[in-house]
Amino acid sequence: MWGLFALTGCAPDAPDERAHHPLPEGAEITDHPPGQTGGSFVYTLPMEPRTFNALIAEDAYAAQIIALMLPGLTTLDPFTQKPKGELAHSWEISEDRKSYTVRLREGLKWSDGAPFTADDVVFTFDTIFAKDIPNRYRQQYTIGGQPLRYEKIDAHTLRFSTAKPYAPFLNDLGFISILPKHKLERFVKDGTFKSRWSNQTAMDTPQEIVALGAFRIHSYRPGERIVLEPNPHYWKADKNGQRLPYIDRLIIKFIPDANTGTLLFATGQVDAAVVSPSDVAWVRKSAETYDFTIHNRGADTGIFFIYFNLKSGHDAHGDPYGDPVKKKWFSNLHFRRALMHAIDRPGLIQAVMFGQGGELDSIISPANGKWHNPHTKKYKYDPARAKEELNMAGFSRDKDGQLTDGEGNAVQFELLVADGSERSAKIATTFLDNMAAIGITVRLAYLDFGTLISRTSDTFSFDAAMLGLTGGGDPSGGKAVYRSDGRLHFWNPSQPKPETDWEKQIDALFDASESEFDEAKRVALIYEMQDVISEQVPLLFMVTPNSFMGLQNRWQGVRPPPIGSLLWNLESLWEKRAQP
């Protein structure tokens, strides 16, 4: 008893006494072992959030911070990879699988004490579909060609209806943070919604940005840091009835340079950091001095690949997109397979990632354990096999070793590389060398991102490009990539109807997976889709680095999930301090 008193009394940076509001009726009692309150948790982000307006925020970093303050109706359980209730307490699915009756948690309050009800949810969806507020969510909640229908049944019950049965619906429902009607409705009415909750608001009147999640804004310094504090009305508590979160301050510093971020962690200045595979060795050297652990989080969720321009059709001048001669090589399956065999991916893993990575063989990263198909076709590094495949495709090598096609055209192409990082430069130069070994001449063109995107998705004036794509989550998020009419179907986007049989097959498998409610069957469909893609290799998969995250050992309650960030449960981390 005395010890506990001393602990709470001596906290070095004791913030204002926490307000004691009774826990709401619908509070969630977490099942993890209880911890102690106190302490500050510091980590870094490479970029400041540009706005705190959840509906129009475009960058991932803003989304990351907003998620700490504004939860959605559902969330993805990091362990089971299934949607679970967040603001929604429970739901029922109708017989025809087209309508969902969602019950909200009761008695919840925003951080300013205003009650949270179904009106806030209706307001949020009204705003998504408001004409003068363009936002990314409108299309996501247009299912089967029709906007999602939603209605309030009582203060804590809503009904959502989709135009067709849509399996990932509960997953998608969690995408949008629920917005406070009592704060924002007047701005939607007076037309100033889009410039509200800007970073200036966070500087001047942080309490205006009310929260429903674990944290709210304490203070914000542009370009420097944001300090979050516990939301006094948060609705989660541990078994002892202690309201979460435990920490008193969550401090996020904005450090654009990755080297500095790693250095600050390695010298004990911040509590957690993502460490790139090539930095792990030296950071680990000071693990004892500063008492931290580097957790190997397995393969990264993103994918990294090279792809060819197979865009069909003609541009405004009536010229075909891309060079028809080259397109003939690129659309040859043997050619693509030969290239896959020619890339020294084991060497890349060793030299670029210091041995800390794996070969990528599917369009869904192995990190995404639930959906990743481990049995897709594998392409081993084997230059001899590559040459065989090229012979099969009708290519031959002239006396200088240069590869030529059946008509005698020398095989050469230009690879566009956007990202100027050391890693991409190494991968690109190795690719160039590997291609030279089988007689293909590759020219590298480093471009700024804007130029690369305009060439690969607007004018389609390119041969090949190297890109990465972030991933994770339900495969329905990759619709624009997988489907042949997708805007981001890299090699040949926005096809009016599938031009090849295998693309038609992918479309069919993907569509079937969207309306399949039996999860095992859904996974099987996505497995099959990956099989087809890896057979055809429209994307030459490269390597995927392991991701590493360092965390100071004094933090308790860490429960590493199989996928995603180690910091998913910031609300239940607590600091173990030496007994006085």
Binding site: D13, S40, R50, T51, N53, E58, N135, R136, Q139, S198, N199, Q200, S219, G223, E224, V227, K253, F254, I255, P256, D257, T260, L263, L264, G268, Q269, D279, V280, A281, W282, K285, D344, L348, Q350, A351, V352, F354, Q356, E422, K426, T429, L432, D433, R443, L444, A445, Y446, D448, F449, G450, T451, I453, S454, L467, L469, G477, A480, V481, R487, L488
Partner: protein
């Protein structure tokens, strides 16, 4: 005085209009737009992108967009940031104070350090102090400041003496005002130091050279003869004359006060405008970019105006009134101005015509442009080489008596010869990788069985890239075979001799250094020959004639200095890239960069020329009827030689390091080709430093060696040609 201000203010209006139009056009013409990022993310729909295009007016023709911006700005509304969704004035306002604090402190520190150091080096010429100061200066300009900043953070974190970044401590808001001020100061220390070090080096050397010139001037000797104390003569009389080029450069420094420093802000988490503006440029956040360009332009105009005032104050020979008197519509000058205007119109018309012409015509026009640019560049380099030749023909005998200068000439000759014979001396091509041997340390050489042999190594730990010697396993070297100076005598294609270690993909650093030297040793020469010749011509003429010529030349210079170069480069690349291959592109871009870069030099030289033209010997030459060309070459050039030699040799590392920055825009020498700048960029990662791959820093040493040799040679030449030093 009022006339001076009025003229400057009036001339600012067309300049601002022109620059805003140019910046807008460049932004419009360079590929990509503010929605590029949205286009590349998988969960954003086409409809959303189209809605945003409409909302931002991106679907309208450029002149509609520009007029809209112009109208808004004229009413004092700087627009709205698309990425931050707030008014631009608010966004910039958030960071102005922090930026000003940092840049004013850094500028002040640089001046406070550079002037005394430069003066002391001059007074103690060739003594230990001078040598040490020089060594510091050459090191400072050879180390990329990014790396310096990173080491600064490391140092701060390890010692705990200084904060590792940010502008305030966490408890800042709860501190009393005095402690808050102290907190700001502590956080400023590191960034200010890092920013200042870079500029101290150059300023100090320029100050030293100019001071040396003026120490021997007639008035100094007279003052001494009349019994004034040494200190008074040096610090009152000589100093105010010698400081001339620094005052002009203060004008540019002032223009940068509000633009911040991307690099220091990135590494030290400092909330300045640099990162914000750079980000806006990359993302094409139109209103923010235009506001920033306008802000920079206004600061440049104010800075230059102040510099002109200060010049007149410090140097009694330069008078502002003088130039206003000659601002009459002289018929001859009016005609020549008309000609210039007509030529400009013609060029613009031709440009517009080409833009709308068929691809064939465009191609011919581009080749013509390329030919003109290359021709002009070649002419500049030719003139420079001719001058060097003439100089050496006259000077090689006295140079023999200067051991340091002679030795540095020898070093440079060796470097150039190595670069020339890289094909023979380098054991491997620059691009040959060996992924098995990434970050391989330099291989030991052992003497075995009467042959020089190369020790072989085995990888013991991939995670730290550590290698161990394999005892007894050596491969002998063979000499002069297959057209190579030396190579390994083995059938194993994977075995390597790494005299200086290997880089991250197992490429031989020694070979890459030699091949890289070809680029790095030529790029500086091409760059300085163009910038300094153009700068000398324009600056010299403007300073010599003064008045209207000076007025218009300097407004032109300001225009060129205010062009946002990133967009210019991106725009030029997209216009030129389809017609030229990468090697030609590189040459073109270097030429273009130099043709833009002369503006700063021209202003400094003009400032010095303004002072020179009132000197008795120039007046005497005029009275004798000497032609303008003769006065420029025979009277101005020798007296500007000190500044020219020092400034030129000091700007070489800027070109060598700057080229690496271009490569990632697809404009410079690109991987897998080698250049020193690119190789050093590869070494600027913490893992290289922490895991002890010291050989990766050798390109930095090579740059340092080149810089120090050029500068020592420059110093020696300066001493020889300075007529006053023979007294």
């Amino acid at each position: 005085m009022t006339g001076f201000f009025a003229r400057r203010l009036l001339s600012a209006i067309p300049l601002l209009l022109g620059i805003s139009l140019l910046a807008f056009l460049l932004m419009y013409l360079s590929p990509g737009d503010s929605l590029s990022e949205a286009r590349a993310s998988r969960d954003i729909s086409q409809e959303f992108i189209q809605q945003l295009e409409q909302e931002r007016g991106l679907d309208k023709p450029w002149y509609v967009q520009y007029t809209r911006w112009l109208k808004k700005t004229a009413t004092g509304d700087f627009g709205y940031s698309w990425t931050y969704k707030t008014p631009v004035s608010q966004l910039l306002g958030q960071r102005v104070v922090a930026t000003l604090c940092l840049s004013v402190c850094a500028l002040t520190l640089a001046w406070v350090l550079a002037i005394p150091l430069g003066v002391l080096s001059a007074i103690k010429k060739d003594k230990l102090f001078d040598r040490l100061a020089a060594l510091f200066a050459y090191s400072a300009i050879s180390i990329p400041s990014f790396f310096l900043a990173l080491l600064g953070v490391f140092f701060a974190a390890k010692t705990g003496w200084l904060p590792t970044g940010g502008r305030t401590a966490l408890d800042h808001d709860f501190l009393p005002p005095a402690a808050q001020a102290w907190d700001y100061l502590k956080h400023l220390a590191l960034p200010v130091l890092i920013l200042a070090i870079g500029s101290v080096a150059g300023m100090m050397r320029v100050m030293r050279a100019n001071f040396l010139d003026d120490m021997q001037a007639q008035y100094a000797i007279t003052a001494r003869a009349k019994g004034l104390s040494y200190g008074r003569v040096m610090f009152v009389h000589v100093l105010r004359n010698a400081i001339n080029p620094l005052i002009t450069s203060l004008g540019f420094a002032l223009s940068g006060l509000l633009s911040g420093s991307v690099l220091v802000e990135n590494v030290l988490n400092y909330p300045g405008l640099g990162q914000l503006i750079y980000d806006a440029i990359v993302r094409k956040d139109q209103d923010v970019v235009l506001a920033a360009v306008m802000m920079g332009c206004v600061m440049l105009l104010i800075g230059n105006m102040l510099a002109d005032l200060l010049l007149a104050m410090s140097d009694p020979r330069i008078r502002l009134e003088k130039s206003s008197a000659s601002l009459r519509w002289d018929k001859k000058r009016f005609l020549s101005l008309g000609k210039i205007a007509a030529a400009l119109l013609l060029v613009c018309g031709a440009g517009l015509g080409v833009y709308h012409a068929t691809p064939g015509v465009q191609k011919i026009a581009l080749y013509a442009l390329g030919a003109v640019v290359v021709g002009a560049g070649a002419l500049c380099v030719g003139v420079l080489l001719w001058m060097i030749f003439k100089l050496f023909a006259r000077l090689w005998r006295p140079l023999l008596k200067k051991p340091l200068g002679f030795a540095s000439l020898g070093v440079l000759l060796i470097l150039y010869l190595l670069a020339l014979f890289a094909d023979q001396v380098a054991p491997y091509p620059a691009q040959l990788p060996n992924l098995e041997k990434f970050y391989h340390p330099p291989t030991a050489l052992v003497w075995q069985e009467g042959k020089l042999c190369v020790q072989q190594y085995a990888l013991t730990d991939a995670v730290t890239a550590s290698y161990e010697k394999m005892p007894g396993q050596t491969i002998p070297l063979k000499w002069f075979s297959d057209g190579k100076l030396f190579s390994l005598d083995t059938q194993d294609t994977q075995a390597r001799v790494y005299l200086l270690g290997a880089d991250g993909t197992g490429r031989d650093l020694f070979s890459r250094l030699l091949y890289g030297a070809r680029i790095s040793l030529s790029i500086g020469l091409v760059g300085i020959s163009i910038t300094f010749l153009m700068g000398f011509l324009v600056g010299g003429l403007a300073g010599y004639f003064g008045g209207l010529t000076d007025f218009f030349a300097m407004r032109g210079v300001e225009f060129i200095m205010a062009i946002p170069s990133l967009y210019l480069l991106l725009g030029l690349r997209s216009a030129l890239a389809p017609h030229f291959d990468s090697g030609q592109m590189f040459l073109l871009i270097i030429l273009i960069l130099s043709f833009i870069g002369w503006a700063g030099t021209a202003r400094v030289i003009r400032g010095m020329a303004l002072s020179l033209r009132q000197r008795p010997y120039v007046l005497a030459a005029q009275a004798c009827g000497a032609s303008t060309a003769r006065i420029l070459v025979k009277h101005f050039l020798p007296n500007l030689a000190s500044y020219l030699l020092v400034a030129a040799t000091l700007s070489i590392p800027g070109y060598i390091l700057g080229e690496a920055a271009l490569s990632f825009l697809g404009l410079g020498i690109q991987e897998p080709s080698a250049s020193w700048g690119l190789m050093l960029k590869d070494a600027q990662q913490l893992k290289i430093f922490m895991l002890g791959f010291w050989w990766m820093f050798l390109p930095g040493l090579a740059i340092f060696l080149t810089v120090i040799s050029f500068n020592l040679l420059g110093d020696a030449l300066r001493d020889i040609i300075d007529p006053k030093m023979k007294l």
